[in-house]
């Protein structure tokens, strides 16, 4: 019981760590400048690596209370960004004024995998894992 909850939290941490490493790789190694919305998603994703790691040793089911607000916040920004790149939200409604326009798609793998899509997938999975830890603990 405890072990499986730990595994779920570990999986959430691993997702956050891979996303952070990926964002740093795209930004620092490949030289893609992050747009404003990407920065907001980074602000939600990077601390998850540390918050979740702190909740793993010793395992604390309360970690959900601290990590879920971050992952929900990141998920909301990610969904907004995704809708923007997909063209459902007009550009003038965005906070981007200078530099890289958020609506511009810089990376597209396999014809549909974009950076905001990866971000939404990662935040969704982390939210799902955290919610299921909470459900187990309150049962």
């Amino acid at each position: 019981m405890m072990a499986t909850s730990w595994t779920l939290a570990f999986a959430a941490w691993l997702l956050a760590a891979i996303s952070t490493a990926g964002a740093l790789f795209l930004g620092e190694v490949m030289g893609f400048a992050p747009c404003v919305l990407c920065w907001y998603q980074r602000i939600f994703m990077f601390p998850l690596v540390f918050v979740l790691a702190a909740g793993l040793f010793p395992f604390d089911p309360k970690i959900v209370r601290y990590a879920l607000p971050l992952s929900v916040g990141g998920w909301l920004v990610g969904v907004f960004h995704l809708l923007l790149t997909a063209g459902y939200i007009p550009q003038y409604a965005t906070p981007c004024m200078q530099g890289i326009p958020c609506s511009q798609v810089q990376v597209e793998w396999l014809g549909f995998v974009t950076i905001p899509l990866l971000s939404v997938v990662a935040f969704s999975l982390i939210c799902g894992l955290l919610i299921s830890i909470h459900a187990r603990a309150s049962r």
């Binding site: 941490w13 490493a21 190694v29």
Partner: protein
């Protein structure tokens, strides 16, 4: 404890993959830049590029710069020092890569000043006053214009030349060449056709030292 070793194992693995990926990516980038530079040797230096120093110098630095770029401003005197430390051995050619918004107008001013034989003075004056005409990474050609007093330029002629089609062509040519050579950031240097392995003055200096040493050997 098993959980701890899983956690540490994953962390180490992640860091290793990241580092290996970074090294691999950088190697590929350098190879690509090397190849682009050697395939495009003839577009690296155009006859019309402003050039400083001994025409027979064994070491030729080609610099892509943006007058509105802060790092270009910082590196410019360093390159001049490098040339002064090796008198007659280094030639510098400048290509323009106006990546900042509004900067293409400033480059046109520079090209127009070159027609009056005052390219280098104008470039130095613009670098010196850069904080006064670059705001939030955007060049303000109107403010840049105000920094050109005291250089003895014929301002009426300067304004006419700036808008001439041959100067517009020069700017377009430089930008097209920058694209072909994979120049995406400024300043970018090529020493005898070789791009910097990674950005930094030390890297530039060691590339120049290598070129000087191999010139002495031959």
């Amino acid at each position: 404890m098993k959980q701890k070793s899983i956690f540490i194992g994953a962390l180490v693995l992640l860091i290793l993959v990241f580092t290996a990926g970074a090294i691999l990516f950088n190697q590929q980038r350098v190879e690509k830049a090397d190849k682009a530079a050697s395939q495009n040797r003839e577009i690296l230096v155009r006859l019309q590029s402003p050039t400083l120093g001994n025409a027979d110098a064994p070491v030729h630095i080609v610099e892509f710069l943006d007058p509105a770029c802060g790092t270009c401003r910082e590196f410019y005197p360093l390159v001049k020092e490098l040339m002064a430390a090796n008198p007659g051995k280094i030639r510098l050619s400048v290509r323009h890569a106006p990546f900042h918004r509004g900067s293409d107008q400033v480059v046109k001013t520079l090209e127009a000043a070159r027609k009056q034989g005052k390219y280098w003075q104008t470039l130095e004056a613009l670098f010196a006053s850069q904080p006064r005409w670059v705001e939030n990474h955007t060049a303000r050609p109107d403010l840049a214009w105000n920094q050109l007093g005291g250089l003895g330029l014929d301002m009426g002629r300067l304004r006419d030349d700036m808008n001439s089609p041959d100067i517009a062509r020069l700017v377009e040519q430089d930008l097209a060449d920058a694209k072909a050579l994979n120049v995406t950031m400024t300043p970018e240097y090529f020493v005898n056709g070789k791009p910097l392995p990674s950005f930094g003055f030390e890297q530039l200096k060691s590339l120049v030292d290598d070129a000087l040493a191999s010139a002495k050997g031959s």
